[in-house]
Amino acid sequence: MSAENKQIREIVTPGQVIASDPELMAGRGAIREANGDIVSVFVGLKEIRGKYVNVVPLNGLYNPQIGDKVIGRVIAKTPVKFLLDINSKFLGILKPSDAFKRSHRTRGYPKTMGTYRLPRENDMDKLKMGDMLICKVLSGSRTEEPTLTSLGQELGLITEGLVIAIASTKIPRVIGKKGSMIALLKNLLHCKIFVAQNGRIWIHGRNPESERLLIEVIYKIEREAHTTGLTDRVKAYIIKEKKNRGIK
């Protein structure tokens, strides 16, 4: 039996001393006190990686990192940009030049043709409130709203399927080691999945029943992300539920 007491991993809490060795350094989620103790700032799992002591939080908003792919929802428009909710403390900014390719046709005809000009298309009308896009984070910091782009491979407007959200710290568990978990989900449930770094997951299955099972499985992974043996358990759960619900 593989995972007996391994299941109860040590969860550290804010203010808890997690190391006192002066050789170790405080990594993410930890700070060094004046007296040399290293203390956790989150409720999370402690890990020691080389010389660093980190605490991985078990909950929290998404922190934009440059290069991350995120799924954002248009919630506001100004005359010059779109504002997207990306499940972070700031809204993401999407400028039309980062969302739509400019065609040379919109520049109008050259002056030699007279005063005739094509009406300039209003870029700002191309996206509506509530549209969901896959974007990449171009820039962002502690003090600035992140800028996004939806131009690029696998980026842009989503037109079908459904997007659900889980805590962004648990996203890697949905992907799994070498993509093992996501492969498992795709193979057993015959669905398409795209996992974004900000905790949002796009899914598209064959039928509503398999989509619903997939959603439940993803929530199960989120809940049990801190345990071991998860892939086996998820696989068994899917197989059992498929049989119970009569999903092919």
């Binding site: 290069g67 792919k69 191309k126 796009w202």
Partner: protein, 359 residues
């Protein structure tokens, strides 16, 4: 018109056997229990039962500040709303917020600010909503205890937990954790909030008559009581996850009964492979892998790859590679459209997600 059954207003706070009216000794805490994750909509939440107090706290944020003029460019702001339900007290309280609630909201905010890293959230706000469903003395202390739990549950970084507990005096004796009657008819009341890391005090108010020696004894009681509550807070924070772990164990046990051969799935151990920057213990080795491996993993029905996980991922490339492997997954499903869509229109979703082949 006063209601029919009045609250007792006499001075008696002790029984004949010398114990307090609810059977406690002078330095004994009321029964305390707490739980986190009780309000699903909130970022973090907690329920505290302290004596007969029943208090919910919920955290929303960090998010943008409304109204905008309150935002501070150098640090985040904490907003606390302490409210009592109309039916939480003996005589129905009007639903409109009153001055007492206003003041208490402020002192609770000032009790929480020292343990938060507000500089990490410029231009943002963190909202703490406290709803007292049943009140029985010492609500501002119990509310701060609940708020501290809710903040930790929300994943907001904190330097320490804080615990609220009051001391006071009734009929000449210094008491720990005043109950409702002791609070109302007693001689003194010192509500406090203790920062558990260094045992400093972040909320302090005092009303009544007490000598300095009595006050000192009161503080000793407070620190003693706070320690007991603190342990319960930690237990509640862990229990949220330990409960799930225990259920997972049961499921595992059932599983192993069904599959006789026990394969330890090496791929499951999550103790490995992440650099300090990326910090996600849940992130397995996705970042270290090349496209070929991910593709073959997909086709494979049994996902366990039995390779030993590499121990050090390369630091700076982590997020890029992670992104690229996710992207590559998606690419498998994508029927790339042959040509790019006309450029006025934003790229439409192909099969999996927007095809974005930009030519």
């Amino acid at each position: 018109m006063p209601i029919l059954v009045p609250e007792p207003h006499d001075e008696v706070c002790f029984r004949e056997d010398g114990k307090r009216l609810d059977g406690r000794a002078v330095d004994e805490l009321r029964p305390f229990s707490c739980e986190v994750g009780v309000i699903k909509n909130a970022q973090g939440s907690a329920l505290v039962r302290h004596g007969k107090n029943l208090i919910y706290a919920a955290i929303y944020g960090p998010r943008e500040v409304h109204p905008r003029h309150l935002a501070r460019p150098d640090r985040g702001i904490l907003r606390v709303y302490y409210r009592m339900a109309t039916f939480s007290v003996h005589e129905r309280k009007s639903p409109a917020p009153n001055r007492r609630e206003n003041e208490i909201s402020k002192v609770i905010r000032e009790a929480l600010e020292p343990v938060l890293f507000l500089e990490a959230y410029p231009d943002s706000q963190i909202e703490v909503y406290i709803e007292v469903i049943a009140a029985d003395g010492g609500t501002r202390c119990a509310s701060t205890t609940a708020a501290s739990l809710a903040l930790a549950d929300a994943g907001i970084p904190m330097k320490s937990m804080v615990v609220g507990v009051a001391a006071g005096k009734a009929q000449g004796k210094v008491l720990l954790d005043l109950g409702d009657k002791e609070d109302k008819v007693g001689q003194a009341d010192i509500p406090c909030v203790v920062v558990m890391k260094d045992k400093s005090i972040s909320l302090l108010q005092f009303d009544g008559e007490m000598t300095l020696e009595e006050m000192k004894l009161g503080f000793e009681y407070v620190l003693k009581g706070a320690e007991i509550i603190y342990q319960k807070q930690l237990e509640a924070l862990r229990e949220k996850y330990n409960k799930i772990s225990r259920q997972a164990e049961i499921e595992d046990a059932e599983l192993s009964k069904e599959t006789p051969k026990e394969e330890k799935t090496a791929s499951e151990s999550t103790d490995t492979a992440v650099s300090p920057e990326s910090s996600d213990i849940f992130k397995s080795d996705v970042e270290a892998e090349s496209a070929e491996n991910t593709r073959s993993a997909e086709i494979n029905e049994t996902p366990e790859a039995s390779e030993t996980p590499s121990t050090e991922g390369s630091e700076t490339k982590t997020s890029q590679e992670d992104v690229s492997s996710v992207g590559k997954e998606a690419k498998e499903e994508n029927t790339l459209s042959e040509e790019s869509a006309p450029s006025e229109v934003p790229p439409q979703a192909g099969e999996d997600n927007p095809t974005g082949d930009d030519k």
